[in-house]
Symmetry: C2
């Protein structure tokens, strides 16, 4: 897994197809990931048809990767299969609640990341679409997801047709806490964010957005309180409609 | 990452220490995992002291791995650091909502799984403790997690002192859906669960628990509706107390 050190998000893909054989091998290997009670609380909807990619695209704000990638994977937290199993085995399931959603979402996300790490090793490129949790209802309708199934991750996948530079990361000590959590003083914030804020691309990002600080680009433009609150309401509705909330 | 094909959960660890150098290298490499807006919405609390392991153990139902493992990692969804950064940069953060919790939990879980994949390759053993989301409040108090920080995963880590057999998995086709979700008919349930239900260890599991079917062991004993509903209420309280829900 030396590939982790050069991992990049890939948004442009070549015309070379991703074979079913390769895709299925990686999807199967990723199933070795630990899972709650060995229940495998996830499903993967594989999108290859141009028509379905066009239908999915608006939920992902029409980012071009969705229609350009040879494969789109929507990974879902799935308590439907386990529930059906129980119903067919004289057992009474109790997975229509928030905890069960979190259990299944955890399974699904761990599975997703093992898949991503395996894809890296094959030289495949991928982009993780955070938009999945912004517009769950559109994805649910398009992919015909039943009750107790929620989309939690989308991966666009293909052979890379670009080689972007490595993105920056915070220093390790900024994410590590020894024994108990040490809160971030203004001095620590300055220390941990200095390198990020001084990067020429981030300074440019502040300038072209007419902001005073890099943090303002995030709070005022990219991830705003207003959007987050609206999407939280949408998410609660989706969890309710999928049976995970009373 | 050929190690994925033989991955096992390890619950018994040898006395050999896990060096800070190795641990920090893996924690740093895992940071290459994709993250929302490159914000790295996670923190890791590293527990090495026997005293802190004893304090954490009850939250994990006193499973022996917690006190026996040389290292316990509690991985948290963390919007506190980003919020502090914003507050120190004339920016108004808006991350006290459910969507932001899901964004940070996603970041934290993807990070966790890359760490696990890397640990596998080093020959380290680990156990992912699903109990983290059962008793978040105890963990929050013990590790002194501030507002906008929620524990989402716990990993016990050490050098393996056991070699358990590989656990079974459902057939690949049971988790894959082509283009749209195909719901599970009784016939498909029979087909997909036949192998699991016929395993001698699972038949024994049903027998010693005096149940009629394997599914009943899960619904009546391991993951019951009553427990799930009680823990859903606890989770909602914890999300509220940590500032992620109004």
């Amino acid at each position: 897994m030396k590939t982790i050190n050069t991992r990049k998000t890939i948004r442009k893909y070549s015309d070379k197809p991703v074979s079913d054989e390769l895709l299925n091998r990686l999807l199967a290997e990723a199933m070795r990931t630990q899972t709650m009670g060995n229940l495998q609380l996830y499903s993967v909807v594989v999108t290859r048809s141009a028509e379905m990619k066009e239908k999915l695209a608006p939920a992902h704000f029409c980012q071009p990767m969705v229609t350009q990638a040879p494969v789109v994977l929507t990974i879902c937290a799935d308590f439907n299969r386990t529930t059906r199993w129980a119903e067919n085995r004289k057992a009474t399931p109790g997975y229509d609640n928030l905890l069960s959603f979190l259990n299944a979402a955890t399974d699904a996300l761990l599975y997703t990341q093992t898949f991503c790490n395996l894809a890296d090793e094959e030289g495949l490129g991928y982009c993780f679409l955070g938009t999945t949790v912004y517009n769950p209802k559109q994805i649910i309708d398009t992919l015909k997801l039943p009750r107790l199934v929620m989309p939690v991750a989308t991966i666009t996948l293909g052979w890379p047709d670009e080689n972007p530079p490595l993105t920056d990361r915070l220093p390790l000590q900024s994410i590590i806490h020894s024994e108990t959590y040490t809160d971030y003083t203004p001095q620590l914030i300055d220390e941990y964010y200095a390198e990020k804020e001084a990067l020429p691309e981030n300074e440019e990002f502040v300038r072209i957005n007419h902001k005073e600080t890099l943090a303002q680009v995030f709070t005022d433009l990219r991830y705003t309180k207003k959007d987050n609150e609206a999407m939280s309401a949408t998410m609660l509705d989706a969890l309710r409609s999928q049976g995970f909330l009373d």
